[in-house]
């Protein structure tokens, strides 16, 4: 039997359970509508302005850095599993890879990409 078949069945059961939690409030929860309840929360006063959706550009920078570094991290996985067989060759290859990565990291650090002031 394919080992992923039980995984798929479990995922289906998990999906059903999560769906149950999503539809249950609509079926069982009590309803006492009141226009004030539907206001966005702002410490009890009327919302002063709408949500602008603008936030510091640093967060975008972090997201971009994450994509770069996470792809690198993913490439460590197959190498790590086979390191027993690759021995010194594998080690040297990866040291070169990490040095290249480290140059990029040092550059980002120096340009203030990691600073939160």
């Amino acid at each position: 039997m394919n080992p992923y078949l039980p995984v798929a069945i479990f995922l289906a059961v998990a999906l059903a359970a999560a769906l149950l939690f999503t539809v249950l409030p609509g079926l069982l929860a009590q309803r006492k509508p009141n226009p004030l309840k539907l206001e966005a929360y702002e410490c009890g006063v009327e919302p002063t302005s709408s949500v602008s959706g603008r936030f510091p550009v640093r967060f975008y920078l972090i997201a971009m850095l994450f994509v770069i570094f996470d792809v690198e991290a993913a490439s460590f996985y197959p190498w790590a599993v086979e390191l027993h067989a690759l021995k010194l060759f594998g080690l040297l290859e990866m040291v070169v890879f990490i040095v290249v990565l480290g140059i990029g990291y040092a550059y980002v650090w120096k340009r203030g990409g990691l600073a939160w002031k």
Binding site: P3, Y4, L5, P6, V7, I9, F10, L11, V13, A14, L15, A17, A18, F21, T22, L24, P25, G26, L28, A29, Q30, R31, K32, K37, L38, E39, A40, Y41, E42, P47, V51, F55, F59, I62, A63, L65, F66, F69, D70, A73, A74, F76, Y77, A80, V81, E82, L83, H84, L88, G90, L91, M94, V95, I98, Y105, W109, L114, A115, W116, K117
Partner: protein
């Protein structure tokens, strides 16, 4: 087929029940650490408290702010809950005498599956906060997303050392590789990095900046009520349980008995180790104040990431030269 179906349903029930009692025990433990009794009114010793909480959450009014995006607002807790549950498809809890594991699916890419599914969980928080159409949830969600992706990097690097020592990505294989020596000892630095990043990934004190009730009201779930809030809550505790299971499987020897105490069955050791890790979580919450956000990000990028890389290179050198 049917057997797997029933097993899956039973496992999910066990996970949800564990969540319910983990929550009760957390409140009890926090109570004891602050010299008060904790919940003790519902049932003997407060043991029926989870049932009372569940009934309250289910019956409570389900509000959607008029500024919210209704579809995504409802989708977000669903994503959180589904990803929290889904990881249990590959987690092994013990093994038969012949080495076949007690797991729903014994896949050879177990750790990759875990990483992949748990990374999707960040969508629940970022979409939930964004779709609420309100200021505090948006702030919590943006902060939380940046925090979770930053710490995920060091977390995935802390696994690499274990993979090198075990030479496999199968969770059962990793546990079997620890029969003689738990990876906690050769991977002590990796374990410390994993613990820190795991607490940050599950958004627990001292890294609970997505909620940060003293500054952001309730963070990303400010607008949620009733069972939709409950879904986020369940997801958080189930994620804690998952993290404890991963720590046990990867670093604490899984179901292997310490000091040759094989008289006690493996499952009992597994439960004991997971329970000890869960207790550590609650202890942290009772002890530590919250990190400041700029320090959190600086720590993640400038301390943990280089440390995790250092650990990786050192382990690689040791494995390759032996």
């Amino acid at each position: 087929m049917l057997v797997i179906f029933v097993k899956s349903a039973v496992l999910l029930l066990v996970v949800v029940t564990t969540f319910a009692y983990a929550m009760l025990f957390e409140r009890k433990i926090l109570g004891w650490m602050q010299l008060r009794p904790g919940p003790n009114r519902v049932g003997p010793w407060g043991l029926l408290q989870p049932a009372a909480d569940a009934a309250k959450l289910i019956l409570k009014e389900d509000l959607t702010p008029k500024t919210a995006d209704p579809l995504i607002y409802r989708l977000a807790p669903f994503i959180s809950l589904l990803t929290a549950f889904a990881v249990y498809a590959v987690v092994p809890f013990g093994a038969n005498g012949d080495g076949s594991p007690w797991a729903i699916g014994d896949v050879n890419a177990g750790i990759l599956f875990l990483m992949a599914i748990s990374s999707i969980g960040v969508y629940g928080i970022s979409l939930g906060g964004w779709a609420s159409g309100s200021k505090f949830p948006l702030l919590g969600a943006v902060r939380g997303t940046a925090q979770m992706i930053s710490y995920e990097l060091s977390m995935s690097l802390s696994f690499v050392g274990v993979l090198m020592l075990a030479g496999t990505t199968s969770l059962t294989g990793i546990v079997n590789a620890q029969e003689r020596l738990w990876f906690l000892i050769p991977q002590a630095l990796g374990f410390v990095i994993y613990v820190i990043t795991a607490v940050a990934e599950t958004n627990r004190t001292p890294f609970d900046l997505v909620e940060a009730e003293t500054e952001l009201v309730g963070g990303f779930h400010t607008e949620y009520s009733g069972l939709r809030f409950g879904s986020f809550f369940i997801a958080e505790y189930v994620n804690m349980l998952t993290v404890s299971c991963i720590a046990t499987l990867l670093f604490l020897g899984g179901w292997n008995a310490p000091f040759g105490l094989t008289l006690v069955p493996g499952l009992a050791w597994f439960v004991l180790k997971v329970g000890a890790f869960m207790f550590f979580y609650m202890w942290l919450r009772a002890t530590l104040p919250r990190f400041r956000y700029d320090r959190l990000m600086t720590f993640g990028w400038k301390v943990l990431l280089p440390l995790a890389t250092l650990n990786l290179v050192a382990t690689a050198a040791w494995v390759a030269l032996h």
